[in-house]
Symmetry: C2
Subunit: 318 residues, 2 copies
């Protein structure tokens, strides 16, 4: 379904419930907030399904849109959700009931009755922007703010390789509606918890370099997590850190998930090391440039050795 058709479909109906994905990020939440606000401004009744996984970072952005208890929707709309497997556990009742899915994931499974998909969009927020502005013909500071949240967070503030000229153009257009970008940038891209910084520090201290600095292996143990008092949220995306080290082309970040169980996250230059092959040697998998594996019955030193062996095997097999 094209964007203008999705907008028409929405305008012909009422009483919507908007779904976001598990471990919600700024894109799914920004899309939900923007679409909800736009529909209400066009005279519709629309709410966002309360997602229990929202972190403090985004709670203020989405809470005003959460449906009140007892709300009975007539139409279910999903935003930025590629498969029903990504529904939060609380949303089990909505399986098989999504009428419209608006998404940018090429892997979208087509679970909804209608799917409005643009896999070239860096963020689902780009699609929602056009549906709101061109389809529903509504745009204001409230909607613009939510769109900015979506597109900026899904591109790491316009730094990731998925960013396109369209992303920048949409950012420029929504920024004209209000002075919200400074607060969002500060909160989402320029703030780290003390626990997070402490974890990063420990990870860097643990790093060992091989192959003249092109390979790095570092890790965070359960003891590190406990001593820091860190939560799962504090350890999200830690694997990006070692990848940033100058000269590194393959970064292996180890996390102890349970006593004697370690998870590898491998981030590589695809033309230096095939990370999928490397992780396959450890029973794992993934996709180009980012994959992982979990090994049980092993201690930290043993895991480091196994990972280094796997990397060297693949490097030598070139």
């Amino acid at each position: 379904m094209r964007e203008c058709e999705a907008a028409r479909w929405l305008m012909e109906r009422d009483r919507f419930l908007i779904l976001t994905h598990v471990r919600p990020d700024g894109d799914t939440l920004g899309c939900a907030a923007a679409l909800c606000a736009a529909l209400v401004k066009r005279g519709k009744t629309a709410w966002v399904a309360p997602n229990p996984g929202v972190t403090d970072t985004y709670l203020g952005d989405i809470q005003p849109y959460f449906a009140p208890a007892g709300y009975e929707p007539e139409h279910i709309v999903a935003v930025d959700i590629a498969t029903e497997g990504l529904f939060p556990a609380d949303f089990a009742a909505y399986r098989g009931k999504t009428e419209l899915c608006i998404d940018h994931h090429p892997s979208n499974s087509g679970y909804a009755r209608h799917t409005c998909l643009d896999a070239s969009a860096a963020a689902c927020g780009e699609i929602i922007y056009r549906i709101c502005r061109e389809g529903l013909e509504v745009m204001d500071a409230e909607i613009a703010r939510a769109i900015y949240l979506a597109v900026s967070t899904d591109t790491g503030c316009f730094v990731y390789s998925n960013t396109t000229p369209t992303t920048h153009r949409i950012a420029a257009q929504v920024m004209e509606y209000g002075d919200f970008f400074r607060e969002i940038n500060r909160r989402c891209f320029q703030t780290k918890s003390r626990k997070r910084l402490e974890l990063e520090s420990r990870l860097l201290q643990s790093a060992r370099y091989y192959e003249e600095g092109r390979v790095v292996i570092g890790g965070v143990s359960l003891e590190d997590m406990a001593q820091v008092g860190a939560s799962e949220a504090d350890s999200e995306e830690l694997s990006a850190l070692l990848r940033q080290v100058e000269g590194v082309r393959a970064a292996a970040t180890l996390r102890e998930l349970a006593p004697g169980q370690w998870k590898l996250s491998l981030r590589t230059d695809a033309d230096y090391l095939n990370d999928t092959d490397t992780c396959a040697l450890l029973g794992g998998g993934g996709h180009a440039a980012a994959s992982g594996a979990t090994v049980s019955g092993i201690d930290r030193a043993g895991m480091e050795r196994r990972v280094l062996e796997a990397i060297c095997t693949v490097l030598n097999g070139r």
Copy 2:
């Protein structure tokens, strides 16, 4: 002088030398490279004055434009240089000789015969973009790449508060000319030296928090620098790190410049702590939200105490 006038002035002359500022950043270098390439494409002879301060990060971007030995220019053009005091030492011979200065600093001293100034531009690269595209009527992948370098680095990749819709629009426009943004983003925003990371780690380890976490004081000693083997380049903008800590509203970063001499860099929320007043108590100064002071004949513990006292004095005086 308006941008179209600056372009006309350039088109009516030939044999240019383009100057960049001391400790050159991506904006001054990107502007120089873009303007030089555009002038050459319009049939002019133009070179950039070799700036000895260029770091490895930017050397590849600017070296091809450096003037050969013995080049004798007829017209001197400065880009992104607010005052002659910001000329590199090697450029002393050009003092008083700048005919055209293109800049975005409101503090520009007007040292050039003609000044083309737009203080609303986030980066000088925005002005150069318009001079090239609208004035000189030339734009291609080479010029676009240099413009992207300028505008992205001066806004921290579109995250700093100086970013505007215009910045995003120019990014979108230049990105249409070639696939250069990924390499620039990775090099400028997603790479840190091991020495830099080690310094950050030591700074974080040294941090002490006060006022329920709203105030933080941390530092890097000469011994830290020596043990890490870090250069001045590795310690640039370290003061931004503590400012990122969640909950912090005033971040004091101390650097030992010489034995017994410590420099404070203070970064604050202006509505929480007046940093200029605080630094004035230590004999320093600066501007809103970012200022500094240097104290001699003091050890680390003494400096920390003096800084905390100054902060508390200003906080209690509110």
